[in-house]
Symmetry: C2
Subunit: 582 residues, 2 copies
């Protein structure tokens, strides 16, 4: 049995135990369903009167009490008639039985510690022995419609967390607490990075000056890395006739997910949900000699997707998505060098923030060659290139057969953040399909038309999503080069130290440091607390000592303290740190 199966059985057994405990406390409870979920389980009950989070300790205590007697799950197959008789007062179970019968499946009942439920199975052999009573915890109560349909009755759902060991539960709780503190929606407001407007609509973030600064700096970093390897910026509109996507093949697949526009002349336009076909049209503007390739086009531009309101969340899931997108058009034989350049940019970019990358190469499945574009020979050659690039640049790469897109193999990157969560980030995709559909070629050495390939090369992918990950990864304490305010000057007394503080402020400002002067009438303690909330990397406290000696006392965000340094020395330190993006 795999670890995942074992965990599933543990959590599933606990769902039964929860139902049994609730039934002991609330005799009238009608049981419905109780599946396992990520990190735990839940059970939905139909109750006469509401229960709340306050009731959970009592239920949990009851679970632990009866757990001792849960030594074995016994299963029994029953007829439809028997089953319906057993659950004659429970409309939910009757509905479930009808469904099982409809699917011509067997009806099974499972009993443990005297408690019986309609169930498909998948439990621990001996819950009393195998469940650590300190490794599970009831989490919270929520309302939930029967079958998720708002036309049905609202039930009471109790969520539980469950792991194999107490340590795992504790570590999960700690991570969750930390994640809540780092929630980018909360920090985004506190740090004044972005906002939403009801008049404009959900999923359409507005970026404030500070948030925009971060966006632009991130984008500038990626551009700096790209420029070094010959990328050029191009500019494209956000809309297109639908013919573009009919030609690219996207229309059939994505037409329901994109915003459609009917023009005054009755044409159907679409807001672009991706940039590749637009870039392909720029490539197609002229005939290229192989000597002029690769052409590498980059655009930081918004794409739009008609997401459902219920699925939107902060910057993680939005309707207006800014992509730092790029596409390389090159000969098949040049693709490896280009992909390696992209790989290096990904490593440098994510590495600079301390993310740990896990690359994953998606390959074709030779059993289903009919699903892919191009010959197996071409695929093997492309995959060999990608594999060599991955192996040369990472030690932890993994390969997955059959996960490639139909148009080519790809490398996806997962990034592990500061509290251990994994996020899907960049991807490098080789595309043999769009060049075919748009008839993109170059003239080779022999004077013949040669089909080119296209490489998709977004680094952040979505700037919004990357920002949400970065805010939570750094808990809002961005590296110096990215901090909207890098230094704050705090005079202890405005009257006595205000003028010296202004001089310092001006020196830093003129040296292009993003500096603020707190000349409010607050006490020093309050000034420092305010600056800490803003997560400002360096605070310069100005008092008599500093004024008299014409030196600075600098407090770093991480309790680093510099004393008696000159403004010039501090500037040198800042410039160095900014340059190194640390």
């Amino acid at each position: 049995m795999t670890h995942a199966d074992k965990l599933h059985n543990l959590r599933h057994s606990l769902a039964h135990l929860l139902a049994a405990a609730v039934l002991e406390i609330r005799k009238e409870a009608k049981l419905t369903i109780g599946p396992t979920i990520e990190n735990g389980f839940y059970y939905d009950f139909d109750l006469n009167s509401p229960i709340s989070d306050k009731d959970l300790p009592k239920i949990e205590k009851k679970m632990k009490e009866i757990l001792r007697s849960w030594k074995e799950f016994e299963s029994e197959e029953k007829s439809e008639k028997e089953s319906k008789k057993y659950f004659k007062d429970n409309v939910y179970k009757l509905e479930l039985i009808d469904e099982i019968v409809g699917k011509k499946e067997k009806i099974t009942f499972y009993t443990c510690g005297g408690f019986t439920d309609l169930c498909r199975g998948g439990h621990l052999e001996n819950p009393a022995k195998e469940i650590n009573p300190d490794a599970f915890k009831l989490d919270r109560v929520a309302g939930a419609y029967w079958r998720g349909d708002e036309k049905n009755k609202m039930l009471t759902r109790i969520y539980g967390l469950a792991f194999e060991t107490k340590e795992e539960l504790e570590s999960y709780l700690k991570m969750r607490e930390e994640a809540e503190k780092r929630d980018h929606k909360k920090l985004g407001k506190e740090l004044d990075l972005f906002t939403f407007s009801e008049l404009i609509g959900a999923g359409l973030p507005l970026f404030t000056p500070k948030g925009t600064l971060i966006r632009d700096l991130l984008d500038g970093f990626v551009w700096e890395l790209r420029k070094q390897v010959g990328y050029e910026r191009v500019d494209i509109p956000h809309i297109t006739k639908k013919e573009l996507y009919e030609t690219s093949g996207h229309w059939d697949k994505f037409k329901d997910d994109l915003f459609q526009i009917n023009t005054r002349e009755n044409h159907v336009f679409a807001m672009k949900p991706m940039n590749c076909p637009h870039h392909a049209q720029i490539y197609a503007r002229k005939q290229w000699s192989y000597k002029e390739l690769p052409q590498r086009y980059a655009s930081t531009t918004k794409v739009y997707r008609d997401e459902q309101t219920g699925e939107l969340s902060g910057l993680s899931r939005v309707r207006s998505i800014t992509q730092d997108d790029a596409h390389v058009f090159c000969r098949f034989t040049d693709a490896k060098v280009e992909m390696e350049n992209i790989y290096k940019i990904v490593k440098t970019f994510y590495g600079s923030f301390g993310f740990i990358l896990q690359p994953r190469l998606s390959l074709h499945d030779k059993e289903n060659m009919g699903d892919y574009l191009g010959t197996e020979e071409v695929w093997l050659s492309a995959e060999k290139s990608l594999r060599e690039v991955m192996e040369k640049n990472s030690e932890n790469g993994i390969e997955v057969v059959g996960e490639a897109a139909f148009y080519g193999p790809k490398i996806d990157f997962m990034a592990k953040d500061a509290i251990g969560r994994e996020h899907q980030v960049a991807t490098i995709q080789l595309d043999m399909n769009q060049p075919e559909r748009f008839d993109l070629f170059c003239i080779n050495e022999k004077g013949e038309k040669e089909r080119v390939v296209m490489i998709h090369a977004a680094i952040m992918g979505s700037i919004e999503r990357f920002m949400s990950v970065l805010i939570e990864h750094t808990a809002g304490a961005f590296p110096l080069w990215l901090s909207p305010v890098q230094v704050k000057v705090l005079p202890i007394s405005e009257e006595k130290h205000g003028s010296f503080a202004k001089d310092i402020y001006k020196k830093l400002h003129d040296a292009n440091i993003r500096v603020e002067l707190d000349d409010s009438n607050e006490g020093l303690g309050k000034k420092i607390r305010n600056a800490k909330i803003e997560k400002i990397p360096y605070l310069i406290v100005i008092g008599d000592k500093e004024k008299d000696s014409n030196t600075l006392t600098v407090e770093g965000r991480n309790d680093e303290k510099l004393e008696n340094i000159t403004t010039e020395e501090f500037l040198t330190k800042l410039k160095e740190e900014i340059k190194n993006k640390k």
Copy 2:
């Protein structure tokens, strides 16, 4: 009689003369209408067989011949019956007569030199004496539907140009010839700056690497000027719920001109045709103290307008318009300083390209105070500020009463280009309406809510349109700082001078000069011609002399020649020129 009236009468008399001349050559010609237009006139004929541009000299000769006998226009009022009898074989004139009758207007016939036409009047007294036969010219033949309706018959339209003097005609022809050479659509293709795709659609330009570089540099220049006076960038989505425009008041006025979107959840969204309401929502995110004002938000972002296909033209009129937009939110009392800062940016920006600016202050009309928002006192005060700013910064400002927008006074700028054409460019508008509609305020010194004002401050307005103007103004020979390729290195012999040429190329490239090396096998003459077509500012020709002396020979685009200078000296010159944006 004004000069414009006189010119109108001249051109109108020539339309008659054209009709008379055509009738003499083509007896069967049916006359229709012949109005004056900018720079001349036309007349539409229904002919049995086509005529072409080749026939124009003959017709022109005939006009000059009969002109001698055109000494006086005589008018005669006729009844409907008489008129219809006169034109019984001409369905066009019969239709016109019916219209005049329908409007209960008088029917007048005008006769000169024996030629009679249905006409409203407005001629010269003595064409033979007043028309200079060397000051008019038949221009071209075109097809035109009767009444501009494609369901009607296609007529033959003959265009003529006419001025008072021969010199004016010649100067117009010269300007037009120059304008054709400078046509941005032609140069845009030759210089590879932008392209269009049939799959994406008309009016949706795609900018190539070179065109995008120019866009970004122009935008960077504006941003540099703005940054100095405290602007901050913000970022906004391109769509919004229609509620935003219902609140701002734009929906009623512009709903037919914007792209509307029906979402999968059946909401009506719109693509933004302007940015002010979005910026207003960023301002509205929090409560501001007067101490935190002004807030100055800038975004370079595309707006979209559902223009009719027939009205689109190159970059001059597009559906995707990139605005270098900015809005200042400030107290009424701070508006003057802010407007002066914008005024200075406009002057610096347009001045750097050699445009001559003509500012125009649009004022309210005190007779119609009901049409305006706010009291006359506020208007007078706002206008006084704008007037003072204009007078302090320009000597040629003019004022126009009654041309203000309902929400506030404004200054518009016209820019005269290198061949004398005027273009409407930047505008500074004070807006007292949107702050009212969006309830935008600050907390003033007394702790009370105080309504703020909003200043609209786009510098280029539309980057596309500005680029079309700039391409034609410079004839594609952009100033050095803006040239996509600044220097081209041309080795005379690849074999003998290739290596030295590469060294020079590398030195310039490493110093951030946009340099290209022409290492093709073409002869020097061809290399130079190619570079001239690309309007590259500086060519470095590398031959034996340069290689042996380790110095450069540089040919400037304007026949400037530098000899025996070192690479370092040339670099210094380039850097200086780039810095000064000359």
